[in-house]
């Protein structure tokens, strides 16, 4: 018996029960559709939201002084001169390079004072990067990069009872133990959906922040962005290689661990649902295979009695299981791929409260879909795993088949 013949035999065997085979394969295909749909939506949203949300704070990557992350000391800075920027530009795949000074200060007005988070930003670059100007709810955005004015989070402005045009004092510790003290006019009030940020943030033009903290031409971080979220690991590796040991490269998950945690929790819950789904479908596949084995006990016995080696018979049954699963996979891909491509090109628009919240956060209110090949590979992998498990049954069964008993039925 040649292998080609065995393949043909196996293929014809599964179509002896056309309806059953089609039903089983369809179950697999639909499980695959649901699983891929969910995962594609999840990964698409993560990538989309991550791209948005990291722009306001962590970026994809940040370059920092090796000791800065320890206690965010204003003494641990990186240069901001052209030579250093040229070095950053050597990192392949970097699309945006944004300087920031991030530190703490005491904000004071009248007899009220409160610890605030100071963010010194290059007005033009920052607006291009994060769209900060669009966050201004009253007043105006920075017009020069050295003006002595600030943007206040709306929660913070409410705490002090301050409005655009009024003054706020910032007081803290500057570079190398100097006193950082400055009086600033409030140019505008910015609103962030994140309450804790909104109640603490003060934006300053970069030059004014450098002056306040007496840092000279230095920054606490260089924020880097790349083409898309999936390019981050490579970008990180390249950044480390180009910048060398004197610069620490930190990715968004390291800088915002709570965000990374949120995503992995959400991802895990989605994956769990999918596993449950595959569990159910797996039993369906198993039931079909058990039937295919049990109903052919006599047939197997006759073939064995006629001199067919058991291994060959086992091989044929293995091929049958494989064809069954592959039929499911092919059907699944045929329905799923066009649907995912369609949604990838036409993301689901959101409406109502969710859309409003997302717009507030600066996101486009859509559910985008990911077409990452690893998603497809993952699902096919799971189905092949199910198949491997299910195919054990006929293998063992044929291996133990007692010819005489089976012939008698």
């Amino acid at each position: 018996m040649t292998p080609t013949f065995m393949v043909r035999l196996a293929w014809r065997n599964i179509w002896r029960q056309k309806r059953r085979t089609l039903l089983t394969a369809s179950a697999l295909a639909i499980a695959m559709l649901l699983a891929l749909f969910t995962r594609s939506m999840q990964e698409g949203s993560y990538a989309h939201n991550l791209d948005n949300v990291t722009r306001f704070y962590s970026g994809y990557l940040q370059l920092q002084h090796p000791d800065y992350s320890e206690n965010q000391s204003i003494d641990k800075l990186l240069p901001a001169d052209d030579h250093f920027i040229e070095r950053i530009k050597q990192i392949p795949g970097v699309t945006e390079i944004v300087p920031r000074i991030e530190s703490f200060a005491l904000g004071a007005s009248g007899d009220k004072s409160k610890g605030v988070l100071v963010m010194g930003v290059d007005p033009e670059k920052e607006d291009h990067y994060s769209g900060l100007a669009k966050k201004v709810k009253s007043g105006r955005y920075f017009s020069r990069d050295d003006e002595r004015s600030v943007l206040l989070g709306s929660g913070l402005a409410a705490y002090f009872g301050l409005r655009a045009g009024e003054e706020i004092a910032l007081y803290g510790q500057g570079y190398h133990g100097t006193t950082a003290a400055g009086l600033f006019t409030i140019a505008g009030v910015v609103k962030f959906p994140h309450k804790q940020i909104d109640a603490r943030i003060v934006y300053l033009p970069l030059k004014s922040a450098q002056e306040l903290y007496v840092t000279g031409d230095q920054v606490t971080a260089w924020v880097l962005h790349g083409r898309d979220v999936r390019a981050i690991p490579q970008l990180e590796k390249d950044a480390r290689r180009v910048m060398g040991a004197g610069v620490k490269v930190r990715n968004w998950a390291d800088i915002s661990p709570e965000l990374a945690q949120q995503i992995s929790l959400d991802r895990a819950s989605g994956q769990f649902m999918i596993l449950v789904l595959y569990g159910v479908v797996g039993f369906g596949l198993f039931a079909t295979i058990v039937m295919m084995t049990m109903e052919r006990q006599r047939e197997f016995a006759v073939m064995l009695a006629a001199g067919m080696p058991r291994v060959k018979l086992q091989f044929i049954s293995l091929l049958e299981t494989l064809f069954l699963a592959l039929t499911g996979v092919v059907m699944g891909l045929l329905i799923t791929t066009p649907i995912l491509f369609w949604f990838h090109a036409h993301p689901i628009p959101l409406t109502g409260d969710i859309a409003y919240t997302m717009q507030e956060m600066g996101f486009e209110p859509i559910i985008p879909f990911s077409l990452a090949p690893e998603l497809f590979v993952g699902q096919i992998g799971i189905i092949l795993g199910l198949l491997a498990l299910c195919s054990l049954y006929p293998l063992v069964r044929i291996g133990r088949l007692k010819i005489m008993q089976a012939m008698k039925g």
């Binding site: 005491l106 009220k112 004072s113 004092a169 133990g177 100097t178 006193t179 003290a181 400055g182 009086l183």
Partner: protein, 250 residues
């Protein structure tokens, strides 16, 4: 002869118990009084030492009782005229470069004073050790060749303090605070203050050098050295006003 020995022993025993009878709180109060008197004036320099830079500041400080204190920075020029005032439970900083008085909220007591290893609480709110804590005598121990009581101070409920616990080494002969170990609420050592160079200053024997050493960064510390001191002179409480805080320049 035997009687004499016995007499000495009894004498030693009596004096010993007399000393022990002094409560821990009494010792702490005396030590605080020793350092600051009913009123005090000091001139000090503060050296902030970091691995890659150091910075020196000069200060003048006044205090009266446990409720009033005022610290004025006289050098370097950039910070000259900056001052910190405490009246009762309230504290303020005067920042001349922006001409603003900034109130120090209780939540900021634990933050660094002018970039040093001393906190606002350590410098402006010194007397808090007497009023805001309960004290317990733990043991006796030598520090810098001097016999000391080791006293544990735990904050009273609702007291506006930053530390979870303090250990104080107070010398038995002079009631000097020779060492203070500062712990957070999780019982982790945060800072250690050592006081050294006991000599006569302002008519008293006092440690004239204080070194604040953060526990987690051994290569950095802040050294406070006393240049001049005067005690128990007449000083009106009206001296400790916001107006005066702004007016003092030299």
């Amino acid at each position: 002869m035997k009687l004499k020995v016995l007499g000495i022993l009894i004498f030693l025993f009596l004096t010993g118990t007399a000393a022990l009878a002094e409560t821990a709180s009494e010792i702490v109060r005396k030590a605080d009084l020793q350092m600051r008197g009913e009123s005090s004036y000091t001139e000090t320099t503060m050296q902030i030492i970091r691995p890659d830079w150091t910075r020196t500041m000069s200060m003048k400080a006044w205090s009266k009782g446990t409720d009033y204190s005022l610290i004025l920075v006289t050098a370097p020029p950039r910070d000259k005229g900056s001052s910190s005032l405490k009246r009762g439970k309230e504290m303020w900083n005067w920042v001349p470069s922006i001409e603003r008085v900034i109130k120090i909220a209780p939540s900021m007591l634990g933050q660094s004073w002018m970039g040093s290893d001393f906190t606002n609480d350590d410098l402006i709110n010194q007397s808090s050790i007497v009023v805001d804590y309960t004290h317990r005598l733990l043991r006796e121990e030598k520090f810098d060749n001097t016999d000391c009581w080791v006293i544990e101070a735990t904050p009273k409920e609702n007291a506006p303090v930053v530390w979870g616990k303090l250990l104080l080494w107070i010398s038995q002969d002079q009631y000097h605070q020779r060492k203070i170990a500062y712990y957070d609420e999780f019982d982790t050592l945060i800072n250690t203050l050592n006081t050294l160079d006991v000599k006569e200053i302002g008519g008293r024997m006092l440690p004239t050098r204080m070194e604040m050493q953060p526990a987690d960064t051994p290569e950095q510390k802040t050294v406070l050295t006393y240049q001049m001191a005067a005690f128990d002179f007449d000083l009106s409480t009206s001296f400790f006003s916001q107006d005066n805080m702004k007016r003092l320049r030299e």
